[in-house]
Symmetry: C2
Subunit: 182 residues, 2 copies
Amino acid sequence: MSMSPRPAPDLDLRRDQVIGAARELAEADGWPAVTMRRLAGELGVTQPVLYSAFASRQALIDAVALNGFDELAAALKAVEASPKARMRAYLDFAAAHPRLYEAMFSLPSGLAFAADDTPEPLLRAFSGIRDAFPEPDETQAEVAWAAMHGLATLQASGRLRPSHVEARLDLVHRMLTQPATH
Amino acid sequence: MSMSPRPAPDLDLRRDQVIGAARELAEADGWPAVTMRRLAGELGVTQPVLYSAFASRQALIDAVALNGFDELAAALKAVEASPKARMRAYLDFAAAHPRLYEAMFSLPSGLAFAADDTPEPLLRAFSGIRDAFPEPDETQAEVAWAAMHGLATLQASGRLRPSHVEARLDLVHRMLTQPATH
DNA sequence: GCCTTTGTCTAGCAGTGTTATATAACGATG
DNA sequence: CATCGTTATATAACACTGCTAGACAAAGGC
């Protein structure tokens, strides 16, 4: 066996650079504009180099998405653990980084959720919603998550009245915190 | 002026054929597999012919989506006008035609919703949800729609526990029909 | 018969993701 | 110091995409 005859240029560092450039480019011009050629040009290298960091364009997008879940989890944890504060933080996050959110949820990806091999950032983001309620319940958290996700995506595609963001959030909040009559 | 020296092959008919073939292909192999070449091959014509029916691939996908909204509106109207029945019909529709639903909501499209030029099928589908409630309210309907949409998409991408579909629907239903304490 | 109009096809452009092959840079060894 | 072997990078190509200009053919009116 022999050691590295040529120093590896810190793969992790370059992964981060590629992820960052992809995010920037996507947020500016949309995901279709994020091509391997343009990305390589932006970084001053050639396409094949990108394939030493990510096996495919899809793998790169998945990495960006995972990155996004990490940030989302942090954004949720950063505010007080009340349903309304956390839900508002969720909607704010989605509105602030629409393309990133798109990569996390709308673009095809191999990231499962309620499975055995669920990546850790996804679990952390989910618990950020679940633990916002006084009596955490899995089903309630799933419904809250779904409501937030629905509001975020429909809002982003211009299918809800922009002037009623607050009213909808209020209604969801009231519904979820009302004592169940069940 | 002069009349048609060659009979037009019923453009509307062919539009429907193309839409149908695109839907079938998408449902079978996913949207990326729906290429103009493959679609033309499936229909026994060449690519340029498709462009006489639709200006672009995007326009074709939009047409498929609009078609889907039409079917969704019909599926909702077909069941009794109760919140639970309509919401279940919505989720069933999304689960039965995942790629069609994807075209309607996840793929980029120019179909607005809460705008002046909102296509009529979209309005009909939305009212199918709104009018399911005893006292129709726009905000309530938007929230119900968002919850359904969130459940449908998160479920489709395997991010909710498959065994708890009914429990989540129950919870949403209870929340939305409970008298507001506000 | 011809001519005009129009639909269709062939062939091509520019761009994509991805990869096989060649080149150049570098550490370890003699 | 020179050579060797390894490995990151670059060049060039493949197969594919959406889309389109120009050539061909079919079908009515005269």
